[in-house]
Each structure stands twice: as structure tokens, then as C-alpha cells.
């Protein structure tokens, strides 16, 4: 089967979706699904076409065309897309999230005599879209409504899709995320000193400011605790200032990405292995809520308890008092309380960590629950 993987965002952008696709697409190629990736050209410095590992990546300035409302650029991209669809006629176009770029696919499908209409379409929601003011006449609803199949990475994402497009109830399903097991074993949880880890894009929706806000109370209960915010993004400088203003600057590290050269595939896992627990105080932000929480799964696979906010699909990954602790969104006090409780009860921390490992193995197995289910879906959608 020939598949165009249409990713709203892809490498070298970093995030859960990008990390998943970097592993999923080669795994699907191994199962016989010849794939290329189409994604946004987010910067003029990024090549329009290149190979990333075993996968051919084609980037188009979709967002630039839409955000600048440039109809001439829109037309140019559409023609280039048509050429690509001729060179690589897909059996299936698989959209990963629905952003502004999806307008170009809709346009391609609706065009008279264009090469795309024959292809089936699948959509996977990797995040949980928030209610929009104009849902009835939006691109998001129309893309879902016209898809041959819709999946979500959590039940919350599937439910939201079915709310946006009620007709898809019989052609939508849940496919949880997974990750291939790393070639390292979990190390014992450190408590002297303990390390609290935030891992991911440093954007408002991740709620890392709440982790910083929680630190004064955490340090009162455990003065040796340290917070490591590993990742990068537009909020990084503000978090540094916030930590300094709160007088906890010495206890908060903001080093950027774990491995800025991306040369060590185990670097992130090693960082997780240094942590006592993972914090995911995510909050709804604008149009999206956390769809799954791939960092939470990484922590669980390494036997780390997770303290997470009750939002989006996170509550399906993290089970309160079984694999971690769930707290209300936007509540730094509750976050500090949960962190303190785990730090003061190492046995409970270890039990939650083991619970996470067990849950990851039971529900989020890479081959069985993730790759295998996409493979089965593709075979079902084969023309």
C-alpha cells in the first residue's frame, strides 16, 4: 500500500507527534506500507525535500500561505502537490492532526480531475481539539466528516472527533500511542537528591510554569529536590525569570533539549532514568488539550511515577494512585502536594512506578497496540 503520511508537524520540530511518527512510519514501511511524509515547511531554511532516515520528507509552506492569505502561493503549492501526487499516487492519505495544512488536501480532493480523489483518507487526532466558535462551518469538522476512517490516540480524542462529526461513529476507533522499548533497564528511583522532570516542548500548554510555582512548597518539604525542565520553546526564558523571581533559581534547571544534536537515540531515556518522577501539569491551551502524553508513557516504561493534570487523554495514560497521581489543571498547590507526597513515601513512589510499567506493557505495547493496529487499519482501507 502506498501511503502519504500528512503530518501537521514533523522533524526537525520536536514533540510527541513528531517523536511518534519518526518511529511509526519506518515500522509501517517494514510492514509493507510504502510511505512518504508531507509536512509544513516552517522555515525557509528547511529544505523542501530531503530524506530523514529511511523516509522521504516533502515540505510545503502551507502555513505561510494561509497565514499571509496569499492566494498566489496557495495556487503554486496546489500545483506542486498535484505533481507530487502524480509521482507518488497514494492508496491512502493519512492525516496526523488537522491543522491549516489540511485545507490543501481538501482542495486537492475536491479538484476536478485531480489525482487525489481516488485515494482513501484516514485522520488521526493526536491532540484533543477544544470547542471552536464555528464548528459547523470549519475545516476540522469537514475533514473529519469526509474521512474514510478517523482514529484518536485516546478515547478523549475519539469522543471529541465524534462530537465534531457525529456521522463517523461507525468509522472511527481508538489507537493508543506506544513506543519501542529502549535497550536500557530502569534504574532505581533516586531520592537523595530527588529529581523532578518535565520533558517536552516548553510552551504554555505544557504548564511548566506550574511546576516552577510549586517548587517553593516542594523545597519546604524536601530541600534537596531539583526540577529539570528538559526541552525548548518560547516559554523557556520566562520560566528562568519565574524561577529566579520565586527564589528557587538554584533548584531549577532549564538546559534545553536533552541531546541538541539528536545523535543519541537513548539520550532521552537516560534522562528519564535519572528522574524520581515526571511532572505533566498540562492545561488546555487555545485549540488543543493533551491528546495522550507520550512523555508520560516514556516515564512509565522506565518505572517512574507520573504526576499529571486531569486533562485530555492524560487521564487514560496515568491512573490516579496506580501509576501516579492526578491533580486539577492550573493548580500549583495541588501539584506541590502530590509531589511532596511521593517524595515522602518512597515505597509508594516505587509502587506507582511499577504500576506504570505494568500498564505500559498491558495497554501501550509498541508492536501490538500501536504499529499493529495502524497496519490492520491500512489493510482494512486498502482499495
Amino acid at each position: 500500500m502506498r501511503v502519504i503520511q500528512w503530518a501537521e508537524s514533523y522533524w526537525p520540530t520536536v514533540g510527541g507527534l513528531e517523536n511518534l511518527l519518526e518511529r511509526l512510519v519506518p515500522a509501517l514501511i517494514d510492514r509493507g506500507h510504502e510511505s512518504i511524509i508531507i509536512s509544513n515547511q516552517l522555515s525557509p531554511h528547511l529544505p523542501r525535500q530531503e530524506r530523514h532516515g529511511r523516509v522521504e520528507v516533502h515540505r510545503f509552506p502551507f502555513l505561510r500561505a494561509v497565514s499571509t492569505r496569499d492566494v498566489a502561493l496557495f495556487a503554486r503549492i496546489r500545483r506542486e502537490l498535484s505533481d507530487l501526487f502524480v509521482r507518488f499516487p497514494p492508496d491512502l492519505v493519512h492525516l496526523h492532526d488537522v491543522g491549516a495544512s489540511a485545507l490543501f488536501l481538501m482542495s486537492q480532493r475536491q479538484a476536478n480531475g485531480g489525482p487525489a480523489p481516488a485515494a482513501r483518507t484516514a485522520v488521526t487526532l493526536h491532540c484533543v481539539p477544544a470547542p471552536l466558535p464555528v464548528e459547523g462551518e470549519g475545516l476540522l469538522g469537514q475533514v473529519l466528516q469526509t474521512a474514510d476512517w478517523v482514529t484518536g490516540v485516546s478515547a478523549a480524542a475519539v469522543e471529541r472527533a465524534r462530537t465534531l462529526a457525529p456521522d463517523i461513529a461507525s468509522r472511527s476507533s481508538l489507537i493508543y500511542n506506544g513506543l519501542p522499548a529502549p535497550a536500557i533497564e530502569p534504574s532505581p528511583l533516586p531520592f537523595d537528591p530527588p529529581l523532578l522532570l518535565c520533558l517536552g516542548r516548553v510552551v504554555r500548554g505544557k504548564g511548566y510554569d506550574l511546576a516552577v510555582s510549586a517548587m517553593p512548597a516542594v523545597l519546604e518539604r524536601c530541600p534537596t529536590a531539583r526540577l529539570l525542565i528538559s526541552g525548548d520553546g518560547p516559554e523557556r526564558a520566562a520560566l528562568r525569570r519565574q524561577a529566579d523571581d520565586l527564589g528557587v533559581g538554584d533548584a531549577v534547571e532549564l538546559p534545553g533539549w536533552v541531546d541538541a544534536t539528536w545523535s543519541d537515540p537513548l539520550a532521552t531515556w537516560r534522562t528519564v532514568n535519572r528522574a524520581t518522577m515526571l511532572l505533566m501539569p498540562s492545561r488546555p491551551d487555545g485549540i488543543w488539550q493533551e491528546g495522550f502524553g507520550l512523555s508520560a508513557l516514556q516515564a512509565m516504561m522506565m518505572g517512574r511515577p507520573v504526576v499529571a493534570a486531569r486533562t485530555g487523554g492524560l487521564v487514560e495514560v496515568v491512573v490516579d494512585n496506580q501509576t501516579g497521581l492526578l491533580v486539577a489543571t492550573d493548580d500549583a498547590d495541588a501539584l506541590a502536594g502530590a509531589v511532596g507526597m511521593i517524595l515522602e513515601h518512597p515505597d509508594k513512589a516505587r509502587r506507582l512506578g511499577q504500576g506504570g510499567r505494568d500498564r505500559a506493557a498491558a495497554l501501550f505495547d509498541w508492536e501490538r497496540d500501536c504499529v499493529g493496529r495502524y497496519d490492520a487499519l491500512y489493510r482494512r482501507l486498502r482499495p
Binding site: E8, S9, T13, G15, N40, L42, S43, P44, H45, L46, P47, R48, Q49, E50, R51, P61, L63, R64, V66, S67, R69, V71, A72, F74, A75, R78, R79, S82, D97, V98, G99, A100, S101, A102, L103, M106, S107, Q110, A111, N112, G113, G114, C127, P129, L132, P133, V134, E135, E137, G138, L139, L140, Q142, R201, P234, G286, I287, W288
Partner: protein
Amino acid sequence: MADPTARLVPNEPDVAARVIDGEAILINVATGVYYSLDPVGSAVWQLIEAGLTPDQIARRVSADCDVELQTAAPDVKRLLDELLAEGLVRGDASAAAAAKPGVPAACEGVCKCKYSPPTLNVYRDMQDLLALDPPMPGLGDVDWDAQDNSSQERA
């Protein structure tokens, strides 16, 4: 409501439009709302641009699409009313003028497809969906055209 004998014109400069492979893409530049027209709708758009009146458009669609005028006329009227309501077209101040010269013999798309009632798709959430995407470094302060790497390929 569209007067069947009064010409409509694209509401420039607020509206930018292109027909690509028989599909018209319309952007309300002022509001950021995107629209698309299916092939028959795109043909109607091109006939508007060519300066035909609503009556003339309906007759042209009827002839080119091999569909009864009593079917095409209300469909065209409905579409024109939608275009007016969305501010994508406006009445031509020189409505009494004759149709512009150079009216195409057949409009792209009309004769290539079976008739179906022309449809205007509306995408009002484009600006919300832009917020889903990561920020574009350099947008606005980088000369994209000068740095476009269209031909660059990296192994």
C-alpha cells in the same frame, strides 16, 4: 438577494481568488475566512469574473452542463446569494454595462464534470487552526522568496 439582470463583481480587494484544476479558492483577506467552490461553482465564479449577469450565468451553466435551465437557475441564484451574503461579491456600480469582452467560450471545469448543484464550502476556523501549529521561525522577518530552498535536496 441577487438581481437576475444586474451584474455582480468579485469584492476586490477584500477577496482574493484563484481557480486551480477546476476548483476555486477564495480568501476573504480582511477576515481570514477561506472558501472553496466545486467545479460547477468555480465555473459560476469565472462567469462572474467574465462579467455575465445572473441570468446569463444560469443559461451558460445550463448549456455547458447539459442541465435544464429550471434546475440550474435556482441553484445558481442560491449560490450567488451565498456569495453576496459572505461578502465575496458585490453589485457592480456599472451594472447596466454590457458583459465584458472576452467572455470565455467555455469555463474551466464546466464541461469536464457532471452537473451537481454548485457548492460553497466555508472554512471559518482557519485562524484557530493556525494556532494548533508550532510557530514559524522567521515568518515576517525573513525573505522567504530569497531563501526558498525549493530545489535543495539533502540526503
